[in-house]
């Protein structure tokens, strides 16, 4: 794998990573849309309808494979080029550079790693349960995501952790969004500022949307 990756050009790797990233970004919107149904005051009925659709529709099934592939590619390439980047400077500076324009861009591997850890927890809590790899909490059906979510958010610690992780997700997305366009060569004096604004809005609104759910469960419900 490593050798194969090396033989691809740095730009190709980055473009693939950017495309995967943009795919994940668009997926997040869908995911958020479904999650927000948790807020509707119908004891999860509409949420479960959406979940039902997502778990049975064959097209979604296919997309699921792409999604997992997207995650895998994004992470593998991300880690790979990070290692290359560390190797590109074997002796570090004594005084760390402070000239970076974009603060979050410095910590993409770190925020990425945090998101990855969250993803593992998230999968254990939901996706793997559905696949039957992990047993659901006692008394809950293996596709009853509404109950699972309600139980998890009832745990204050988990809820807070979730909110904090969403903040990191926002950091990651803030740089990721506009960076992906730059990598794809989509830079233009007229439109790039617009892309940056959209990226900033996206990186605030989407994590905020996700975070609103545990907050809702803690404070309102």
């Amino acid at each position: 794998m490593g050798n194969k990756l090396i033989s691809y050009s740095s730009i190709t790797k980055k473009v693939v990573m950017a495309l995967a990233g943009l795919f994940l970004i668009s997926f997040l919107v869908v995911h958020l849309g479904i999650n927000l149904l948790l807020l509707s005051n119908d004891d999860g009925a509409s949420f479960m309808v959406a979940v039902g659709f997502m778990t049975t529709n064959p097209l979604v099934k296919i997309m699921e494979i792409f999604l997992m592939g997207g995650f895998a590619i994004h992470m593998v390439i991300g880690v790979f080029i990070q290692i290359q980047n560390w190797l590109a400077r074997p002796v570090r500076y004594k005084v760390a550079g402070y000239s970076h324009l974009s603060f979050f861009s410095k910590y993409m591997i770190h925020t990425g790693a945090i998101i990855f850890i969250f993803l593992c927890i998230h999968f254990t809590n939901f996706y793997f349960v559905k696949l039957g790899l992990v047993n659901p909490p006692t008394g809950v059906g293996k596709e009853d995501f509404y109950q699972m979510a309600t139980l998890l958010f009832a745990d204050r610690f988990y809820a807070v952790l979730y909110v904090v992780l969403m903040i990191f997700l926002g950091f990651h997305l803030h740089h990721a969004f506009q960076s992906a366009f730059q990598t794809l060569g989509l830079s233009h004096t007229k439109y790039t500022p617009f892309i940056k604004v959209v990226g900033t809005i996206y990186s605030i609104v989407v994590p905020l949307g996700f975070a609103s759910i545990p907050l809702f469960f803690i404070f309102i419900k």
């Binding site: 980047n85 190797l87 550079g97 000239s99 861009s105 506009q178 960076s179 730059q182």
Partner: protein
């Protein structure tokens, strides 16, 4: 003005280096950073100690020879200048100044603050040119070039090849340098004929030489003494993708897709 200097000293490429602290007094605020080092070196020689070796030549900010990573910034704490144009008035009396060489695998230290930047020459040799021989050229006005394109091309061509972009980048990536050259030619009709070959060859060489990958942090642009924009990097990405997707046969052996 008085300063404490913490300078990286390294006898040669193989030796282990270390920081050595020195004091220097009575520096004029209108002296340039390199003139301060001249005074320092004169004192070193008079004391019979080895002067600190650093690269410098034109001292007017155009040859790209001078380097130095000063207090965490390539070319020091001023914007859009090279170290030779940095003046001591940018520092406060009594400051401690940490001076390091460019750090990159592709720029090995030769001695003290002097690094080997031949990697840049190699990238140019890989394709940073237009393949015409001397003579037999049509009139210079035979091909019209829109002023805007000529200006943008000049913006990119202003690169002095100093390597500050590599030094500033947390990944030691040379993308800005390569992109500036690719853009310079891509924006001119004369450069179009071999554009697809050029961008692939130069990127492949850049990768081969051990520079890091671009993660679009923008540090290169912020530190470039000639203020070259990362728009050029986007342009290069575009050129590269176009070349890879559009070209019918593999132009470069190394580098793959």
């Amino acid at each position: 003005m008085d300063f404490t200097l913490k300078i990286w000293r390294q006898k040669n490429a193989k030796a282990k280096g270390k920081f050595v602290t020195y004091k220097i007094n009575g520096i004029s605020d209108s002296s340039s950073f390199l003139e301060m080092l001249d005074v320092f070196n004169d004192q070193q020689v008079t004391k019979g100690e080895d002067p600190v070796v650093f690269d410098h030549d034109c001292r007017e900010g155009i040859c790209g020879t001078c380097s130095l990573y000063i207090n965490g910034r390539p070319h020091g704490p001023d914007d859009a200048v090279t170290t030779c144009q940095l003046h001591m008035r940018k520092f406060k009396d009594g400051d401690t100044i940490v001076i390091e060489p460019w750090r990159s695998k592709a720029f090995p230290v030769i001695r003290d603050l002097m690094v080997d930047r031949q990697a840049f020459d190699k990238i140019i040799q890989a394709g940073g040119f237009i393949s015409v021989n001397t003579g037999g050229i049509p009139d210079a006005n035979a091909i019209l070039i829109p002023k805007q394109n000529a200006d943008s091309s000049m913006d990119a061509a202003a690169c002095i090849g100093c390597g500050a972009c590599v030094a500033a980048c947390k990944n030691a990536s040379a993308m800005l340098f390569v992109a500036a050259k690719v853009s310079h030619f891509a924006l001119l009709p004369q450069g179009k004929a071999e554009a697809t070959r050029r961008v692939q060859a130069m990127v492949a060489k850049m990768d081969e030489l051990g520079f890091g990958n671009c993660t679009n942090t923008g540090a290169c642009e912020a530190e470039c003494p000639k203020e070259i924009s990362i728009e050029n990097i986007a342009r290069m990405n575009r050129e590269f993708l176009g070349a890879k997707i559009g070209s019918q046969k593999k132009v470069v052996k190394e580098g793959g897709f």
